[in-house]
Symmetry: C3
């Protein structure tokens, strides 16, 4: 879909749940020369998650190098980028959720991640959820997560070369 | 607003709650020659729903042929399209909710619907909710619904000639 | 960012939670000649709100005239506009929430607000949340609020000269 030399250093693909954002991001990164590194941030804690992870893996073939990075995403990006591999991060939302639930310093973790993303030679395509278009969440944890996600999306969007918002499988260019 | 020959075969109008998507879709379909078929998918199960249905009907005059199609939407589309009528479907979200709550095979129902939409001569304008831009729903049913809605929107968007996202009564063109 | 003569009479800045909409709106209004009137609609009822208000104030300097207008927003707009001041309203969502929770006539309050906004010489920049892109809220109050917010956004968008939707700090032009 996209030829290699049109893929910028850092692309942020925002979208809602089941918006087709992962598929769109995969199409972008496969415009670069394989093999592509898939940084998987999901932790298969229950059957529902296992099923979702399986569905995503199903679409990827042997040209993908899959690395699980549920917590040390910054380290995994630095390593793969150092090896000159195109990187797909799927997704920042699960990584943020893992980080928050582990009781880590979320602000520092996001800052560290942004530093690595800013230094990366790329191409890097990062998938993230837009979660702020609903009512105020009922729980303090829900509100903390929504705030952290919004701030992280702004942070990554500010250093990205290209930002798209995916709805119903279709991209809207934000930057 | 739109003259008949500019209205494509299949248009998907996505939007949030109270976004003005129904009104926008009505303006589109009334660009075709009347009478227009209004496929109403709402079931008036309580006073709140009855009030909403009444408000929507209030805007429509005698040039509309209203058919209730809370479950067999595919059949109602095929019939009205066979008679050469322009069709407004309002909305896919309520139909999907009815289908899910009735315990039907949602995947098959969506597939059947997509087949009929793809075959229709049109013009058809389908209204649907974008529901994925919030936090993960608390309940399994909520998550199932959100997933099904996202997939259905992608499915219809893929075969639509035109897709718009409505916010505050204003359309953003996605396709 | 924006020079004074490019700022229209009335701008509506829509966005999700933590979308960067307040910051974007501040950048717009500061394109006009200072001092700028900041109409703050938040009520500091708890520590979480106090913290958010403090963060927002932190970005503003002595060129801002801050007025609290949690309820009589229409009156505060008319007064500041009468004095020829550029106005930033942050935000319609908190004002609507205050109005609803106070048991006031929400429809009439929105109508009164729209009349004042329509008459204002401007420039006025109004910030508001887009809250309709999730599942149907569990509670009747949640549904009433979401409906009222959607209608208010449509109402203000209809009379605005410019409407933007902010996501991840980046604006999409709706009008």
């Amino acid at each position: 879909m996209t030829s290699s030399h049109h893929l910028p250093r850092l692309t942020l693909v925002l979208g809602g749940a089941r918006s087709g954002k992962s598929r769109y991001a995969e199409e972008l990164i496969t415009g670069a020369a394989p093999p592509w590194v898939y940084l998987a941030t999901a932790e298969a804690l229950d059957d529902e998650m296992r099923e979702r992870i399986a569905q995503h893996r199903h679409r990827r073939n042997a040209q993908w190098l899959t690395t699980d990075a549920p917590r040390d995403l910054a380290g995994a990006i630095a390593k793969a980028d150092g090896e000159g591999r195109p990187i797909l991060i799927d997704c920042l939302t699960l990584w943020l959720s893992n980080t928050l639930l582990a009781g880590a310093d979320v602000e520092k973790a996001c800052e560290d991640l942004a530093v690595v993303l800013e230094k990366a030679r790329g191409p890097v395509v990062a998938v993230s959820n837009e979660v702020g278009f609903g009512l105020v969440p009922e729980t303090p944890l829900g509100r903390r997560f929504r705030d952290a996600q919004g701030r992280l999306n702004q942070q990554v969007a500010a250093i990205a070369d290209r930002v798209v918002l995916v709805a119903a499988g279709l991209p809207l260019t934000l930057k």
